[in-house]
């Protein structure tokens, strides 16, 4: 083997050698397995039940895979697919394939994207605030989005078709407000977190206040579904909505991993190394908010995923953000897709918001980690 001579330019050839880390590979494989199994369960069971084998066949139905028109219409939407000259006209799909592809599969995909976004967003915020209890929602994003949701549902109900966008924008605005409050010739992790608490408290009070003006139990349930996070009723529209932002945010997170690592050395060291700490911190927070907002637009405010997944991954692969971000890309979907199985099927036909299940699963697991390890995921 040529890798034997450790001297010389071995590290250059090993640019991606860190990916071949056994712990990271194991984590990625295990997570993928969870997603696949949970996904199969998800597409098999429901109002129209089929066996796992039937579900498997439906997922890999050659009629779908050999006709680019079908996939294009689902992924790009009818309009865009038509302009590209791709169409599914004249293609007959079996009943199982229709159910799996139109109704059940998109929910699994949205769940995977939401989990990915939340996990990576949480990981970034934990580095930016140097606080291991940080989540995607620490800088006001959830409370801003929650307030926007309540305002839309209760006060400006005419705008409810725009709810996903309004929720994300509300979250992003709250984040900017937090930054503005924290800014005093620069910021610091502590100032940011405190400003997040201020904005969060005010927004949450307003949000709770608005609940009193809702006169319809349906509106209240809808509001709760949005503010605890739910995948009920997601279809390809949501996939199309979340996919581009996910690609952008995850791409940016992956290329910024070195910046995150240097930021972890502390502001003084990072600055002495020539990093423009304020700019980098704001840009990284922006990436994390983008990821969080994308997930809010399709699933509402799913709690706990963004807090716990980075911890789990850090416990397995260590605190190097190159590995951590990649690990989160796999572990986030695993937790969310698995939790959604419970949310959808546990009390069937009643569907719970997935946020309730992530809390129920995540809480005890967090407890287990706390008891097991001396220093829980120290950053």
């Amino acid at each position: 083997m040529a890798g034997e001579d450790r001297v010389g330019r071995s590290t250059r050839l090993e640019r991606f050698a860190w990916l071949a880390d056994t712990r990271l590979l194991t984590l990625a494989l295990a997570s993928t397995l969870i997603v696949v199994v949970a996904g199969l369960v998800q597409v098999s069971f429901g109002a129209y039940s089929m066996s796992l084998a039937e579900a498997w066949r439906a997922v890999f139905d050659p009629t779908v895979w050999t006709n680019p028109g079908v996939v294009a219409e689902l992924l790009l939407g009818d309009g865009l697919a038509a302009t590209l000259g791709l169409s599914s006209a004249g293609i007959e799909l079996s009943r199982e394939t229709l159910i799996v592809w139109n109704i059940r599969l998109p929910r699994v995909l949205v769940g995977a994207f939401v989990g990915m976004n939340l996990a990576v967003s949480g990981a970034i915020f934990q580095a930016v605030t140097r606080n291991e209890l940080a989540s995607p929602f620490i800088l006001g994003v959830s409370s801003g989005a929650g307030l926007a949701i309540l305002l839309t549902l209760v006060v400006f109900s005419g705008l409810s078709t725009l709810l996903p966008v309004i929720a994300s924008v509300g979250g992003a605005l709250a984040f900017l407000l937090v930054y503005a409050i924290a800014w005093k010739g620069g910021t610091s992790p502590v100032r940011l977190v405190l400003a997040g608490v201020i904005v969060g408290t005010v927004c949450n009070s307003l949000q709770t206040g608005i609940f009193f003006f809702a006169d319809d139990i349906g509106v209240v349930q809808n509001a709760i579904a949005w503010t605890t996070g739910s995948l009920t009723g997601t279809d390809w529209r949501q996939v199309r909505m979340v996919l581009p932002w996910t690609v952008v945010a995850m791409g940016l997170a992956l290329v910024s991993s070195r910046q995150l690592n240097v930021l972890l050395l502390g502001e003084r060291t990072a600055s002495a190394l020539g990093m423009s700490v304020e700019k980098v911190r704001f840009a990284l927070s922006g990436v994390a908010v983008l990821a969080a907002a994308a997930s809010i637009a399709v699933a509402g405010i799913v709690g706990f995923v963004g807090l716990i997944v980075p911890h789990v991954v850090r416990n397995v692969v260590g605190s190097d953000y190159k590995r951590l971000v990649v690990g989160c890309l796999f572990a986030g979907p695993a937790l969310l897709v698995a939790a959604d199985v419970g949310a959808r099927l546990a009390l069937s036909p009643v569907q719970l918001p997935v946020g309730i299940v992530t809390g129920l699963v995540g809480g005890p697991y967090f407890l287990y980690l706390m008891r097991k390890t001396e220093q829980l995921g120290e950053i």
């Binding site: 690592n261 050395l265 002495a272 190394l273 190097d320 220093q375 995921g377």
Partner: protein
């Protein structure tokens, strides 16, 4: 307030005298004879109304070792942070190789000037080698991968700091002294002409103190790097530095060659101690006797 304190002691002793020479004149630049580095009329502090350093000037001799000494709260670290552009100047300017440092981009400055802060925290699990590679940050663009130059610099820094045997260990598993050597390796990997070290030997055992000072000596002798360091141990300063600058209350009280600065009078005036100073071939030896209780 006293504005210019470059009075009696300085001019009388001054090797590193700060006259009104603009360093631009003899800016040789590059690594040849070390970089020229000077601060002029510096006003540095944490609030504008009450600056810690109020109008001091300092010319650092290129390619040599300058030690800042002084009692706690004398403004040594503040001066160092100001020189490194880590604290905004409220007045005056710092010139490196003929250019004002705050006009340089952050990365450009970090390629010329390295700073090791007093206390450093490393993240949970990071290997020695990974940490040292962070020293290459200013040399790498956003998308750049590790190049041959980076590898050379890192190898060189690791061997110069004498941490070869540790390079695969996790930083968090090392002793305080070993950690400090690793952090020094990181700033060495930055490959700068000027290196500022803030109390690099404080809290270290004697072995590691000597290790650190040996590295400083090597930098001076083999690399012609301009080193400015804050030291608590005045004997150490006298032994390893070419120039000693003594501060008290934010004012430079004396500057010059060790044997000229480290005197019984200065120890009484600046540090408030009665001490015996004996000249040996390893520099002045200081034997502290008692603290002076009167306000000098």
């Amino acid at each position: 307030m006293v504005k210019h304190v470059n009075t009696n002691l300085n001019t009388r002793l001054g090797t590193a005298v700060s006259k009104r020479t603009t360093p631009t004149a003899d800016a040789t630049g590059g690594s040849g004879a070390g970089a020229t580095f000077a601060g002029e009329d510096l006003v540095i502090g944490y609030s504008k109304d009450d600056p810690v350093i109020d109008g001091e000037s300092l010319v650092v001799p290129p390619g040599e070792v300058t030690a800042l000494v002084g009692p706690n709260g004398s403004g040594k670290s503040t001066l160092l942070k100001g020189l490194a552009d880590q604290l905004a100047l409220d007045g005056g300017s710092v010139v490196l190789d003929g250019r004002e440092i705050h006009q340089l981009g952050a990365k450009e400055l970090a390629r010329k000037l390295g700073l090791l802060s007093q206390e450093n925290v490393s993240p949970g699990s990071i290997s020695v080698e990974e940490l040292v590679y962070h020293g290459r940050y200013p040399h790498r663009g956003f998308f750049d991968s590790v190049g041959e130059e980076d590898e050379c610099a890192v190898r060189d820094a690791i061997s110069l700091a004498g941490v070869d045997h540790l390079h695969e260990r996790e930083v968090s598993s090392l002793s305080g002294g070993q950690k400090q050597l690793v952090w020094i390796a990181m700033v060495l990997a930055q490959d700068t002409d000027v290196l500022l070290l803030d109390e690099p030997t404080t809290f270290l055992d004697m072995h590691h103190q000597l290790e650190v000072m040996e590295i400083v000596r090597t930098l001076r002798e083999d690399r012609e790097i301009t080193v400015v360091l804050v030291l608590h141990d005045i004997e150490q300063a006298a032994r390893y530095a070419d120039h000693v600058v003594a501060l008290k209350g934010g004012e430079i009280q004396a500057r010059g060659a060790p044997e000229e600065v480290v005197t019984e009078e200065l120890l009484a005036a600046v540090f408030g101690i009665d001490a015996e100073v004996e000249l040996t071939d390893r520099g002045p030896r200081v034997t502290p006797i008692r603290a002076c209780h009167h306000d000098p």
